[in-house]
Each structure stands twice: as structure tokens, then as C-alpha cells.
């Protein structure tokens, strides 16, 4: 029963049919509170489409979707804000919820852009805008958070910090997270469940099990797959602050 209480979304053999072909098909997955599920796969493999199905933006043309999440927040992959609309960061933060300026500043601080509160959103850089998008989603305190390549355009150090933030948010808010990411290192080290997509689910499982899967190796190439196997191996132990190996129990 405890397991069921934590269930946020359950897809059973879902798919989206558009312009006389299946964009994705046979998608079955579960997202639970406090867990990170990651979708990986090549371009056009249906990652964003699957995410939109989970968010109820797109209807599934077959199968069944159960969505128990009371509040969802979304960080879309591409977003263009029309020049015809004057919009400051503070207005954007309030887009779909009623939150006060204090909460807004707190959320913006988490992603390091609280200084941009009253800036015109059109003048932000790509990375700054991404940080605002993530802050907006966090400020909503969602039960399910869907992030579609959230760190694109963010500088290298920022990328690591934001990934760590996402992991932290997952446990502090106890929310379920669906992440679409190309950063295999983060995926393999920090997520709970990985799903490889290519129009359908090629393989899925824990990061540890997935790197040994032949479908995964075929999808990402021998080289990447083996590097990650090594990477995963590294995580059989952890390092102390001085770099000393401290064995996991």
C-alpha cells in the first residue's frame, strides 16, 4: 500500500499518433514521489512527446494514463516569449500561481538569478532564462516536476550546480521528477530509473543495470557505454572530502 501512495503517474502501453505515424508507442512507466526518472534517447526519439503525454498536454491515442499528481510544474525545452508582450522576470514567476515576492526571490536565489527580478525577460541570456524557468517550476512546489533538458545553455559549473539542485529539490519537496537529459554522467550517477527511448522503450531499469543492456550499448555506442560502465563502477565506492575512498556499507 505504501508503494501505491507514492505513485504519481502510471502509463500503461501509451502512444501518440500524429500525421499517420506513431511518434512514440508502447510507453509504460511509473513515476513515484521522491524519485527521479530519466528519459534518454537520440533526437526525434519521442522524449518530449512522452513528457507531454504525462503532463496531459497531449492525449494518448492508446493505452491508459493514470495521473495522481495534484500539482505539476513544467520546464519546457523551447520557449519563445513574444516581443509584443512586456514581461519582467517577476511577472513570469507568477505566471500560473499566486506566490508572493518573498517566495519568488527565494526560488530565484536557489538558481542564482535573484538579481534579475525586475529585468525584462527578453533581455536575459539563454542560460539566465533557463535558470529562471527552473526557479519558476520549483517555486510552485509541485508534486510532479517535469524538466525537458533544463540546463541547456547553462555554463559548465552552473550545470553541475543545477543538477545538484534538482536532486536536492527531489528530496526536500518529496516530489517525483521526470527528467529529459543528454548528460549521461548525471543520469547515471543521480537518477533512480532510466528509460532509453527510440520511438518505443528500448530498455529501462536502474542506471547500473542499463549500462550492461545491449540495446543501450547499441543506442549510445560502445565507447559511451563502456565509459559509463566504468563511471558506474566508480560509484561502487564513494570519496571522502580528501579524495580517500570510503567504502559503502
Amino acid at each position: 500500500m505504501a508503494e501505491n501512495n507514492n505513485l504519481l503517474v502510471k502509463l500503461d502501453n501509451c502512444g501518440v499518433y500524429k500525421s499517420s505515424k506513431w511518434i512514440v508507442r508502447g510507453i509504460s512507466l511509473e513515476i513515484h514521489k521522491g524519485k527521479i526518472v530519466t528519459l534518454i534517447g537520440p533526437n526525434g526519439s519521442g522524449k518530449t512527446t512522452s513528457a507531454k503525454m504525462i503532463l496531459k498536454i497531449l492525449k494518448s491515442d492508446e493505452g491508459q494514463i493514470k495521473n495522481f499528481a495534484s500539482k505539476m510544474a513544467y520546464v519546457p525545452q523551447k520557449i519563445n516569449i513574444d516581443w509584443t508582450m512586456p514581461l519582467r522576470v517577476v511577472d513570469f514567476m507568477k505566471l500560473t500561481s499566486h506566490i508572493n515576492n518573498l517566495e519568488i526571490v527565494d526560488a530565484l536565489k536557489l538558481t542564482g538569478v535573484d538579481n534579475l527580478l525586475y529585468n525584462d525577460i527578453h533581455n536575459l541570456s539563454g542560460g539566465e532564462f533557463q535558470r529562471v524557468l527552473i526557479a519558476r517550476a520549483i517555486a510552485k512546489k509541485p508534486e510532479l516536476l517535469v524538466l525537458d533538458e533544463p540546463v541547456q545553455g547553462v555554463d559548465f559549473n552552473g550545470e553541475i550546480a543545477l543538477y545538484n539542485l534538482i536532486k536536492k529539490i527531489c528530496s526536500t519537496l518529496n516530489c517525483g521528477i521526470l527528467l529529459i537529459s543528454h548528460d549521461l554522467h548525471f543520469v547515471m550517477s543521480a537518477t533512480d530509473h532510466v528509460i532509453c527511448l527510440n520511438g518505443h522503450i528500448c530498455c529501462s531499469g536502474t542506471p547500473r543495470s542499463i549500462v550492461k543492456n545491449s540495446a543501450y550499448i547499441e543506442l549510445f555506442g560502445e565507447h559511451n557505454a563502456t565509459t559509463l560502465s566504468l563511471y558506474q563502477h566508480d560509484h561502487d565506492h564513494s570519496h571522502g572530502t580528501d579524495g580517500r575512498v570510503t567504502n559503502n556499507v
Binding site: K71, M72, A73, D82, P86, L87, T96, S97
Partner: protein, 267 residues
């Protein structure tokens, strides 16, 4: 107070400007200027039908505009034509049908100029009542769907994902737009309604930095245009509807000055 035709015109015009402010902003943000145009062209058909079957003009125009708007949404889903082509198709065919029908109405004297450019000086107390009651209803509904409508304007997917039900508010917004056109056709006329929706909002865009500010400035600019336009038309004896639009245009030109100064300062 309502005895004077000029006072009645002022009161009715201010009412229309207040409704047009927020709706005009949404029309600009959503790039729907041609949509407003199409609705006002089809309004002509509504007026013709009202005369043919002795209906209430406002009601008839609202129904026809709403039908055209819904037809457009439906056609967009079914055909591979772009939105602007469909809008052109609907605008000109409804306009043509309206004009053909006018030909049949030989028994009634028909003021085509009045339809195209409106006659705000001819409004009676009943018209004013309709404008204010209808306007209050439009603004009230707009207030309730604003967050959903606004978020969908910024990004539809985000709005849909976060439970704002944008498909519902989009549908209602279409009806509200049909409503404002129905309310104002008698006063402003089919050709100039889009002007009263767009120009005040365009003025506001030039000088505002947040959406709320833009809505307020657009409303004020509309009210000022109506008042100044009507006084000008009284003073130098020009037609009232076009005078209002000309004043709005002058305000637009003035609103460019701060942009220009800002540009110079940044260099």
C-alpha cells in the same frame, strides 16, 4: 444629463474604450489583429441579417461573429491552410455575403456608410445600457479567465501542463472578442473597431514594462482618444469614429518619442 447627444456619445465611447483596453492588449500579444478585422467584416453580415429579420443588431452581430470565430478554429484543425489565409477567406466571403444580402433589402433604407464607420452621435440611452451591461459582463469574465489566458499567451504547453485549462479560456476569449465587436459596431463601425482595439494597446506597448501597466495605459489611451476625438469632431465638424482613430494615431506617434530618447541615450 443623457439629454444631450454629445454627452451620450461620450459616455458610450468611454465605455467601449474601457472594454477595448485589456482585450486589445491580448489581441496584440496573441498577434490576432487580423482576427479582429475578420470578425468586424463578418459583423456586416450580422447587421444585414438583423435588418432582414428585424432582430436586435448587437445580438445578431455577436452570433455571426461567434460563429465565424468558431468556424475559423474548426477550419484550422481540418485544413492545411495557414491562419491568415483562412482569416482572409472568412473575412471576404462573409463581407460579400453581407453585401449581396443588402441588395435584397430594397424595402429598407440602408445606411452603408453608417455600418462601416458607425455613428456614435446617434446612440440612445438603450445603447448606453447595452454597452455598460455587456461591457461589465465581458470585463468580469475576462477577470476570471485572465491568469489562464495570460499564461497560455506566454506559452500554451506550460499553461496546459500546469492545469490552467487554456483550451477553455481560449474559447471564451474568442466569444468575448465577438462580444466587444457586437457592442461597438453601431458606434465605431465595422472598419474602425480593430483600430480602437489595436492602437491604444500599441501606444501602451511603447511605454510600458509590465503586462499590468500595458493594460492600464491601453485603457487610458483609449479613453483619452475617445474624449479628444469627439471634441475635435464637434469643433471642426468631422465624422466622429474616424476622428477618434486619428487622435489615437497621434497619441501613438507621441508614444514613440520616449522610445527614441531611450535609444539615443543607450548609444
Amino acid at each position: 444629463m443623457f439629454d444631450d447627444f454629445f454627452t451620450r456619445a461620450l459616455i458610450a465611447g468611454i465605455g467601449i474604450a474601457i472594454i477595448a483596453g485589456p482585450l486589445g492588449c491580448l489581441v496584440i500579444w496573441r498577434r490576432l489583429s487580423y482576427f479582429g478585422d475578420t470578425l468586424s467584416h463578418s459583423a456586416l453580415l450580422g447587421v444585414t441579417l438583423a435588418y432582414s429579420f428585424s432582430f436586435n443588431i448587437t445580438f445578431s452581430v455577436f452570433i455571426i461573429s461567434a460563429v465565424v470565430a468558431l468556424l475559423l478554429i474548426n477550419l484550422q484543425k481540418r485544413t492545411k491552410l495557414a491562419g491568415d489565409s483562412l482569416l482572409g477567406l472568412l473575412a471576404h466571403s462573409t463581407l460579400a455575403i453581407g453585401l449581396v444580402l443588402i441588395g435584397f433589402l430594397t424595402s429598407i433604407r440602408f445606411d452603408l456608410m453608417g455600418l462601416l464607420f458607425g455613428d456614435i452621435l446617434a446612440v440612445d440611452v438603450e445603447d448606453i445600457t447595452i454597452v455598460y451591461l455587456g461591457g461589465a459582463a465581458i470585463l468580469l469574465i475576462l477577470y476570471f479567465i485572465w491568469k489562464s489566458l495570460f499564461s497560455a499567451t506566454v506559452n500554451y504547453d506550460l499553461s496546459a501542463a500546469e492545469g490552467m485549462r487554456p483550451e477553455v479560456s481560449n474559447f471564451i476569449f474568442t466569444l468575448l472578442l465577438a462580444g466587444v465587436i457586437a457592442l461597438s459596431i453601431k458606434m465605431i463601425g465595422a472598419l474602425l473597431i480593430t483600430g480602437l482595439l489595436l492602437i491604444p494597446a500599441a501606444i501602451a506597448r511603447n511605454i510600458s514594462s509590465s503586462p499590468r501597466q500595458m493594460v492600464i495605459i491601453a485603457t487610458l489611451a483609449g479613453v483619452v482618444s475617445v474624449i479628444a476625438g469627439l471634441f475635435v469632431s464637434l469643433e471642426i465638424n468631422t465624422s466622429s469614429g474616424p476622428s477618434i482613430i486619428v487622435v489615437a494615431l497621434l497619441l501613438f506617434i507621441i508614444s514613440l518619442i520616449p522610445l527614441e530618447i531611450k535609444g539615443q541615450l543607450q548609444k
